[in-house]
Amino acid sequence: MFNVARRIISGLFIAAVAAGAAATGIEAQGVKITDPTSVVMIVNRDSNDIGFMDIKTNKMIANVFLGNNVNPHMVMMSPDGRYVVTGGTRANKAYIIDTRTLQLVKVIPTDIAPEHLAFSPDSRWYYQGNPDGDSISVIDMQSLSKIKTIPGFVEPLNVTFLPDGSKAYIGNYGAHWVGVVDVRRHELLKKIQVGSIPSVAKLDPAKYLGEIKGINIAAPSIDGRYLYAADSDLAVVGVIDTREDKVIKTIRVGKDPWRIYMSHDGKYGITANNGDETISIIDTKSNSVAATLEAGPAMTGINFAGGKAYVISSTSGFVYVYDMSSLKPAGRIKIGTNIQLETATTDTQDRKIYLAESTNHEVVIIDSKDNSLTRVKNVGLYPWGTHIMDSKDNYCH
């Protein structure tokens, strides 16, 4: 009797385990990524997909196809790791991928030419900048729907949320002001002008009435209290106090600064000055230029790793290196000849830099320990940028 009962119980247990295992097995088949920090995301502009590369093995896990002629621009993972999003510049749509299953779960119409984007710190809001639509699309990540389009910007390039998520700051490349958005109401609150136009501007219509090169991004200090916004035409960096939303200091830098990049320890911000091929290193303690050093042409990004700054010179094929303790040049790394370098992200250990190289469809990994290179080929067509969750260097052109 006891044996019979035990057999029955054992049989039920085995059946339950088998059923559970089967169920787990079915679920496991759909799960491609269990740890969102374990992958490098690569936005492939011309193969219209997002590549996912295992950060330990440097092997491609998957390429999530978005659609024909989407031409994605920037990729970013939500802070909670649940979704990966990108703006399809030529499709005028935002694409939302489930991180676990790598399924494209939603396509949302935006305004014209979506490029750069940002998440609110609580992962609730996805702000998609539409430079050609002069607007920000607000996407609710709970309902995965666009709830609003905030108008009134001028070529909005980048979005920066405050750490408490109360406000977002928008760099306007087609103007000389930073937009302040109330995140609770998703409304443009005010426009902060970072620098004044020089009085001789009217003598120079070729410069000032031609193409405007204004503000790319308002980059935050390490505590989020201040924002640093470089204005290309005015060749200044405006320091914005986010408590009062006003410029407290204007720092003159080199010619035509593309944007500013903040060091991971918060001590310095570096502008890439494409006009005179220099970098200006700004001491954030004194808010003054600590050094202006020679760099290369067509700089598209700056990454920080191993106590050094790596400056990407897109057309020369070089990455210029600077020692951030002595603030002096520390050589340059040749990535290749006749190639185009794009942008890069740094791992969370601040050691390896994942640089997109579009000519040969590869990602070049720079180890800051010895500046050695590892090439991961065939990641997709025309890799345009990379992204790692929680990296401090997540940016795009």
């Binding site: 011309d46 070729a206 050094a291 050093l293 020679e294 020369s316 603030l327 002096k328 040049p329």
Partner: protein, 549 residues
Amino acid sequence: MTFRRYHPAVASAALSLLLGAAGQTFAQAPAGQAPAGQAAMNMADHRGGIRGTVRDANNATIANSAVAAVDVKTGARFEALTDAQGTYAFPALPVGSYNVTVVAAGATAFRRQGVDVTADQNVQLDITLDAASAAQAADAERQELLQQVTELKQRVTDLESNTVLSEPETRVRRVEVFVDENGNEHEEQVPGSKPAVTYRRERVYRRQTISEKLEEALADAEEHNVKIGVDAAITTQFAKRTQGGDPYIDNRAYALASADLFFTAGIAQNTIFFADIVALSGSPPDAEIPSLTLLNGYTARLERQNELNLREVWLRTELFSQRLALTTGRLDLTNYFDANALSNDESTQFLSDALVNNQMLGLGSNGTGFAAEFDPKNGFRLKFGLQQSNNDATNLSESLFTLSEVGYTFTPFSLPEGSYRFWFRTDNSSLDTRKGTGISIDQKLTNAVGVFARYGTQDLEDDGRDHYWSTGVGFQHGLIFNPQDTWGIGYAQMDLETGDREKLVEGYYNLLLTERLRLSFHLSHVLDRPAEGEKFGYLLPGVRLQASF
């Protein structure tokens, strides 16, 4: 009774065309009959029906009234006419949800949305055409039209954004392949194959806007063209004697115009060709004031009045990951050495040559030569160059001028960056000035203020030495009218072994009018004490207008 009605027929028709609405109208059927074309389908599936009576506001039945039922999902349209008793019937409708409308006098008089038809069931829908039903119908149609307008706007937006060149773009890549002994090309290595480099066109799928395509084409054309640049300046100076008497001149005005035409072309990988043709015209103060150094730095370029002069023509190539640059041709070797950031350019900084060049570098004219610059981009720089120093010499061996320099850029004592250089030169063309050495420093104190200093000396045949030094301060971003203005004050002194001595001080303010046009004001004073003869001094106010593009 006249109803105020919204009449969207024309707009709807247009929208339907644009939106490609799939509505299909089945032939009007009399009451009690299924629409034409449905008979075949009726045999295959279960259907339902809608029936009822149409009355007017006085409850009187209306005959020959057109009733329509439109399948919400498929857009299929069914029509029926009321009979003499005002009844209508759709006896065999496919199962689904229907919008039922009655059109009277050309306008929709009744509209009921979402009438559910289930299998083998008839829905009774009696219709009263009154003011309320007409208003309700008009409102519903307006909502539908607004929805269509919204969809249309979205389509127009999509259309606008898709107005791009969507034909596949092609680009050429340099790729590594594997070639076997038969000459067959493989993507992967196969037995007997060897790696080889080839070039291949690949097709990419990127949409480009027309403006992007144009920009690319223009940039490509510009890259392949010979680039031309112009640097033109006119300097006007006035000389007021402050010391000395006759025979030294007094109260004279001078002007010198200079125009440089540059040609640059990329001719190979990391290799460029450069040529500079210059012409000068006018009278600088140096023609009349016998100072040790040139009071107008442009005078050094003046060989013959109003004549074109090939000042420089050279080839430059960069080797070893572009760390080593080699330049050869007709050079101005001093361009490559002692490049002090604050006092090395007569076109934008000081005008006096004593504050432009180290006077002990000692090269008078351009000539055939060679320069090598090694820059590992870590702060150190090494340079070496040689040049024919005497263009009239019949061989290089007897007119060889060499320069060597080591430089270092760093940020000392928590100051911004500074560059420190040491140079050494030899010259075998002159018996009494064979070797010279010098240092050159430019150091920023803040982002706005920098200081510079130079020292140079040359040994002479009789063991004597000539000495030169200069120092000064330059401002970039401080105490200026406009953001890109610069100004500076400098002092230079020269002591020659012969006993000749000169002291010079100059201040300038350079106003950036546009990206291509600068106007600067200069005030300098020179005091010369010749070894033989009376000392003399001049105050020289001046203006320089310089265009560069």
